[in-house]
Symmetry: C2
DNA sequence: TTGAAAGCGTTACCAC
DNA sequence: GTGGTAACGCTTTCAA
């Protein structure tokens, strides 16, 4: 009815041009901030635009320029503090570089990840940051990369896939804490992760599709082997996907008579459940059970005892991935780079020498 | 050079149509899944599309349809577990309804929030979910809403602003825990929040721009007044924005000779720092200091003692906001709804009766 | 059921 | 400097 008050249809450059008494092309120049215009005209257009409350349509702009000013990010689970911190790093850098972030959760599910990437590509994001659910299944990523859209991998690389990648030195970190536990006399050391196999039994590191976790388990097993502890495969517990599942696994694991004397938790969400469970069943940390967790989550410092953790530079992980991507977006066309960020063990009080067995 | 291998330019409906030997319109019909086509033609087009590896351009699609299939979300800080959980709720519902989420951090800064909304509107999101940094400063939100884009407010309403809103019963929750503390004999009760004023001194609840926090402080002060504790305004501590700042405030607060005997932390990030600080300066919880925190963060259950908290239905907060928005997007045109979700006090062991003073 | 052509709101090229 | 106009890739009348 009243096209003035209920401004359903948004005002366009054409409207502004008409009001300012110039051509569409000229109005577009000042509104888009490109080309050259006289000061007089610039002012006229600016005034008209303000009067009409002109808002550029980025969609149309993207259509013609081919760039959307958007970075697509696919992570496993934004609820996990690891990812929310990494995403914070990504968005900070992205915004700084003038990009908007579209975020999609994969729920660590490959088919969801594929759908997410299809959506993102359809929306014509300028680049992608992905933490692949399975590093063995990256054909969709290859394809996205081949389509000319820069791609950066976060936290999980793929050795057979040459793209910009930012990971932590997981293998080294795992080896380090494993060695430490062994030196303290531990022999029955468990590693527990959310990763899973169809039969929920761990056979070889190749069973593990999540790059970062596979590297950690390799570090764990290799170190055990070097120390003369063979066949530690049976101490790798899988399927700790939800807190509930983790609790069940932890209970079974810790209540058995041949229970581990030390546990390595693959992330802080798992670490928390191990901590809760050990308390629940009355297993004293660190006297009866040593615990080391990956990810220096905030709570790990305030428990009694505080938990020894592998501190990963999570924010920087995200930051770096975004930086690499932005460089590509700005035309950098060099060979793919693999960045490995250093971790650090934060010694607290959840680890103790094994007294006797 | 070789337009076949390096498929820079993406394949369009026109390409598919040509290959299938039909018109652009027909190809578009089967590719877009609308209108009616014969089975023969449908197959031909489908085959051609697959052969060419056609990927729809959502941008172009949005241009003509006017809808982008996108929801814009603006939160204070994705790093805060409160928001990451709420965002999880939003994205789950959004994906289920076929929408993608664009996420922007405001850093609790109004001007950043304004910029975010401008960006989102420019990208022609179909709807917006915002947790406004300042509820007094919502003109940009009003405007976004007026432009015909549905808007839902998350966790922070604005009483003078009629839009779909989802909040928790913060006032009631704050009143409840305050009453409980008073009944336990506490008189010097502190409330500590990230909200801030220019002079960092609290005068009246109107100083507080964050809706949820203002309601809590009102509940706190009202209850104190009713209980015959006047002028409790001086026990409201502001400016706990970063963990570092919080630590400083906590130290000053807890080391003074007239220190509080009970502290209410406005969120779990603050609660954690209070906990750390009290331990650092050797103040026993709950014997020497009672602590109640808003937000049932995972760590609160595992400290010694575990922390009594106000459990907010955070995931549902996000979920509900998304649901309201999706309904609007599907044409619901009824009056704005204000949903208030119930909180619940989880009694743990960080609160004790005040022995003597 | 199919095709031709007119948009959608920009940018970008090319004359003037 | 400025204006006309052709893209961009899709949807959507309107005829045939």
């Amino acid at each position: 009815m009243d096209p003035n008050s209920s401004q359903r249809a948004s005002v366009t450059v054409a409207d502004v041009a008409r009001k300012a008494g110039v051509s569409k092309a000229t109005a577009a120049r000042v509104l888009g901030g490109y080309g050259t215009v006289s000061d007089r005209v610039r002012d006229a257009v600016t005034v008209a635009a303000r009067a009409l409350d002109y808002r550029p349509n980025e969609l149309a702009r993207s259509m013609t320029t081919g760039r959307s000013g958007t970075i697509g990010v696919v992570v496993g689970d934004i609820e996990n503090p690891f990812f929310s911190l990494a995403v914070r790093g990504i968005t900070d850098i992205a915004r700084q570089a003038g990009f908007t972030v579209i975020l999609i959760n994969s729920g660590e599910d490959v088919s969801a990840e594929k759908a997410a990437i299809r959506t993102l590509v359809a929306k014509r994001v300028d680049g992608l940051i992905v933490s692949p659910a399975k590093e063995s299944d990256v054909e969709h990523l290859r394809e996205a990369a081949r389509s000319g859209r820069p791609l950066a991998l976060l936290d999980r690389g793929s050795e057979a896939f040459e793209v910009d990648t930012v990971i932590a030195d997981d293998r080294h970190a795992a080896a380090g804490i494993t060695r430490q536990l062994i030196e303290l006399g531990h022999r029955r050391i468990a590693y527990i992760t959310a990763c899973d196999t169809p039969d929920r039994v761990f056979h070889t590191p190749n069973d593990i599709n999540t790059g970062s976790v596979r590297r950690r388990v390799e570090g764990f097993l290799d170190t055990c082997r070097e120390a003369g502890l063979p066949a530690m495969e049976r101490w790798v517990y899988m399927g700790a996907v939800t807190p509930e599942q983790t609790r069940q696994i932890a209970k079974r694991m810790l209540e058995g008579k041949n229970r581990p004397t030390a546990v390595i938790a693959s992330d802080s969400v798992i670490g928390l459940e191990i901590f809760k469970t050990s308390r629940l069943i009355g297993l004293a940390i660190p006297q009866e059970l040593s615990l080391i967790s990956f990810h220096d989550a905030d709570w790990t410092a305030v428990t009694s005892p505080p938990v020894t953790v592998v501190r990963q530079p999570v924010y920087q992980l995200g930051e770096t991935a975004a930086k690499l991507l932005v460089e590509r977006l700005n035309g950098n066309d060099t060979a793919p780079r693999k960045v490995v960020l250093r971790t650090e063990v934060v010694e607290r009080a959840s680890v103790a020498r094994l007294l006797e067995d």
